[in-house]
Symmetry: C2
Subunit: 405 residues, 2 copies
């Protein structure tokens, strides 16, 4: 029998306990042995929960129990999750975590300790919730040179953008609805400013390249400046706006960024709505593949944690080759990345068309009647060129959004 | 160094040689050792190809060479691929194949021999071309109870249906275009009659349940009866028609079938167009996940074969737990499966509405002006009930298509 401890009995931790119980037989079959929950570490007691008799308050109990071979970290944050996870690995235990902040900040060190100790540090649930994406990268696409990963990686912002798209909501009202439904935090900054997506694309980039990525090197722009007017143009163009985390890998040259992007109906991520996530992976031989599913939620995320538990149970004392090394990847400056741009300017087409054409040449123009403004979509160019032309433009720029249409 | 032999230097076999060469370093990194091509078995010579010096004509050379530990079968068909693959496994060699016919017909036996010999029989490329789907089922979702798998599994039929949808083409003209582009065979029966999809959903069902599936037990209906008129209705309804292979698993009760299905724009498989494939998997904890990519093509399919080669190279002498046992799964009769139905009847709504309502109650009705017919969509019901009501109907039924809208 393989014994598991869960650290943190919140939404995901309790979900993991539930999945282990619900799918007990299926999991035992996959592992070839029963997997049982021994401890649940939490500051609180849960006298009415199914794990009431397993609750402990002292981390040392887990660290010092040689029967516990797999530890689940679902506390979130960095402290005490970082020292606890590190101590577990040093004690020769396998660890799985759903905590993207932990993986983005300390992944390199924790992976290295796991290798040294011949155990495993896994984190399928840290990106894309229930969607298998970390494991496909090291199990299915490990013979591919990954050229691009682009994902809708945050369910909260995708819910907000979907509401703005489908119902004409403003950012503020869509955010409020997301908060009322429990999809967004009272302090929504980590989601709407793109920080959550940034950590996730940093993890995916490190997985794809095999090298450490400092998430602070990734240009990150959230969705707070996206308005209902942008979506009125998008509708007219048969397009939508999504928050992308993207990594474009060309040998040693890597562009990675987080930003809202206007995409057309034929883009494979166009159909990723509401709280769902979708991740496109381009391989040099495979071409495009996409992974789609529940990006969050108690049971989907717990299911991803359990997938790690199963692989760790199959490899209790051997390190499965995955992750990245300590060589820090250099991320190219955002100004050298190339995009098309959707741009809104004040004034009428009749007045301003000439100044737009002087700066950008012949571009696709869109007019929303009665708004006293119009928009256009540029050709693809380096961001530095766009910024220079935008500065030249003799018209007030109301908005610009990178575009893949 | 790990030595590989390829049997069959056609499109996929030559693609495998190309991927092994192109991504040599990446593959060596994943395996921890170099993977080299030693032989290519084919009846023909390829004097101008990069593998000219590796061509052999005698299977015995592979079978009897102890240095060859992994054999790739990309000949297609059952003879001699079946005896060759069996002999390789019996000789203690790992095998990977892209040949769905072989896997559907002899998978149970070949998996069993691989287990006995502590080697591996893998077939990622047999379903969904380059899309990782077999490996996610046994590596990522092996703790889940799979409740449903629904896929667009055949690129040829999806190309034809997409042409009919987007360009108003008839079945015949779309088929001809697919043939001219090399997407469809001169004898297109295996694709357009659904036989290819049938074998693929049989393999996925066996993977999901762990039990053998006789593909002949799966109700199979192709797309030859789908017309441009059906697509005119579909357009009016914001829908499309796709060829689904579906498996619904409820404990021991399994419904599996292949048929064209009318789906709405909000169905996750709606966006799977042209020669792409998409596979939806419903797990009891995970909920919905989807896998999308190139369902065919030389390099994508070869990339999937290479993913098998890598996992086999990592497990040369140990059997990775996957596949199914010899217990034959009982497939429920199609008549007990439940669907909504899109039905076209001759006559006008004014004339026939009453007879339709007598048989089906109140249903959604659609009129195409000037056609002398109309259509309706029924509630969900068992197929047996639908057939009985259809027989009762005092109007000529021109068409019926199962619907998920």
């Amino acid at each position: 029998m393989i014994q598991v401890a869960i650290m943190g009995y919140g939404t995901i931790g309790s979900g993991v306990a539930e999945v282990l119980e619900q799918n007990r037989e299926k999991i035992a079959e996959a592992v070839g042995e029963e997997v049982a929950l021994k401890y649940v570490l939490d500051l609180r007691d849960f006298p009415d929960s199914p794990v009431a008799d397993k609750i402990i308050h002292d981390f040392k109990v887990i660290e010092e129990d040689p029967e516990v071979s797999i530890v689940v970290e679902t506390m979130g944050g960095l402290n005490p999750s970082y020292p606890f996870v590190k101590a577990c690995l040093l004690a020769g235990k396998n660890v799985t975590t759903s905590n993207k902040a932990l993986v983005a900040a300390y992944g390199t060190e924790l992976l290295e300790i796991a290798r040294e100790k011949s155990v495993n540090f896994m984190f399928e649930a840290s990106v894309g919730g229930g969607i298998p994406i970390i494991r496909p990268l090291y199990r299915c696409l490990n013979g591919e040179k990954i050229e691009e990963i682009t994902g809708i990686l945050n369910g909260t912002t995708n819910y907000i953008l979907t509401k703005m798209d489908k119902c004409g909501a403003t950012f503020e009202s869509a955010l409020k609805e997301a908060q009322d439904l429990g999809y967004a935090e009272r302090n929504p900054e980590a989601d709407v400013e793109g920080h959550d997506t940034c950590r996730k694309i940093a993890i995916l980039t490190a997985m794809a390249t095999g090298h450490e990525v400092n998430y602070e090197d990734i240009y990150t722009e959230g969705i707070t400046k996206i308005t209902d007017v942008d979506f009125r143009y998008a509708e007219k163009m048969g397009a939508s706006v999504k928050l992308f985390g993207t990594s474009q890998i060309d040998g040693d040259k890597v562009h990675a960024w987080v930003a809202p992007v206007m995409i057309g109906k034929d883009h494979p991520l166009y159909m990723v709505s509401d709280v769902f996530n979708g991740i496109l992976v381009e391989g040099n031989m495979l071409g495009t593949s996409m992974y789609y599913g529940s990006g969050a939620g108690k049971l989907p995320t717990a299911s991803a944690v359990v997938a790690d538990i199963i692989e760790e149970a199959q490899n209790l004392k051997s390190n499965v080759r995955l992750g990245w090394d300590a060589k820090r990847l250099e991320i190219e400056p955002m100004l050298s990345s190339r995009h098309r741009y959707f741009v809104r300017v004040a004034g009428t087409l009749a007045d301003k068309e000439k100044t737009v054409e002087e700066a950008f040449g012949e571009v696709e123009k869109i007019v929303l009647d009665g708004t006293g403004e119009f928009a256009f979509v540029t050709d693809e160019m380096p961001e530095a060129s766009f910024m220079a032309k935008k500065a030249e433009l003799e018209a007030e720029v109301l908005q610009f959004i990178r575009a893949r249409i």
